[in-house]
C-alpha cells in the first residue's frame, strides 16, 4: 500500500472534545485544497467524532489508526474551502 505523506501534522494529545475538533478545524482551514492533515490524539471519543465532523464539513477521511494503547492517528484530506 502506498504511504500517504501528510502536509501538516498536529499533536492534540491531552485535549478533549470539543477542542480536539476546534484545533483540527483551525489547522485544516489554514491549508490548501488537496493537502493532507495528520492528527495525533489520545482522546478516544475524538477518534470517532473528528472523522465524522470532518466528513460533515466536506473533507475526506483517509485513515483512522489506533497506533498504541493510548494514541490515534488520523489522516484527513482537505476537499473544501
Amino acid at each position: 500500500m502506498e504511504e500517504i505523506v501528510s502536509d501538516k501534522k498536529i499533536d492534540i494529545k491531552g485535549l478533549k472534545c470539543p477542542y480536539t475538533f476546534v484545533k483540527s478545524k483551525l489547522a485544516i482551514e489554514g491549508m490548501e485544497k488537496g493537502q493532507v492533515l495528520e492528527i495525533l490524539l489520545d482522546y478516544k471519543e475524538a477518534s470517532n467524532s473528528i472523522p465524522k465532523s470532518m466528513e460533515a464539513h466536506g473533507h475526506k477521511v483517509l485513515k483512522v489508526e489506533n497506533i498504541n494503547d493510548t494514541d490515534w492517528v488520523l489522516l484527513i484530506k482537505k476537499e473544501k474551502d
Binding site: P18, Y19, F21, V22, K23, K25, L26, E29, G30, S53, A56, H57
Partner: protein, 266 residues
Amino acid sequence: MDFTEDQIMRYSRHIILPEVGGKGQEKIAKAKVFMIGAGGLGCPVGYYLTAAGVGTLAMIDNDDVELSNLQRQIAHSTNTIGMPKVESAQATFGALNPDVNIVPLKFRLSKDNILDLIADYDIVIDGSDNFPTRYLVNDACVIAKKPLVSGAILRFEGHVTTVLPGDGHCYRCLFEEMPPPGLVPSCQEAGVLGVLPGIIGGLQAMETLKLILGKGDVLKETLLIYDALKTTFRKVKVRKNPECPVCGDNPSIKELQDYEANYCSS
C-alpha cells in the same frame, strides 16, 4: 489571524459551525458596529455582540440609568442607577469580553454628527425609542450607504427589518413619514413587557452577525413582526419604493433634515 488559546476556547462553539469557522470568527473580530441607544434593545444587542467578539462596538446614548429601566435593560443594574447608560453598559460588556473595543458616546445623536460618527463603521443598529431618531438614522444610513438593522418594540409587539441601501427597501419605503406626535404612544406611556426587547434585540444581534459573516438570509425587503401575546412571527414583504423620498429614483431628501423640529411642528 492567530487566535490565542483563550480565544480558541471562548469562540469554540462558533469555530465548530461550518458557517463560521476560524475565518468567520476573524470576520467578527474585525467588524465595527455602531449602536444607537443603550436601552431596552441596545442592552441585549450589545451584550450578544460583545459575547460574539466583535472588534469594535460603539454605542451612543445621552441618558442615565434609572430604576424604571431595570425591568428590561439587562446591561444596567441597581448599582449603576444615575450613571450614564453608555458607561454602565461598557462596564458590563467589558467584564464579559475584554477582547471588544467598546466606544461609549454620551451625547445626543443629531443631523450634524451622525454621518461623521458612522463613517468608520460597517453596520448600524437602531435601538432608539423615538421617531425623529429612527428617521434620522434611516436617512443617514441610506445617504452613507451603511447597512442598518432596525428594531422597535411596544407593549407586546416588536418589529425587525434590515436595510441594505442600494439593495432593497429602506425604512421610508415602509413608513414614508413619521406619524404625527401623540398618535403612537411611547413605551413610557404604553408600557412594554420586559422580555420583549430581549427577543427583538436578540434578532437584531443575529441579523448583524449574519451580515458580518455573509451567511443566510437577512430581513432585506422584509418586516418581521413578533406578537408576544399570540406567540406569532409574521414576515411581511416590503418592496423598495421607486418614489421613496430618500432611497427612490429621484429622492427629495438629499441631505439630513431637522427631524426634531419637523416632528414637533407637524
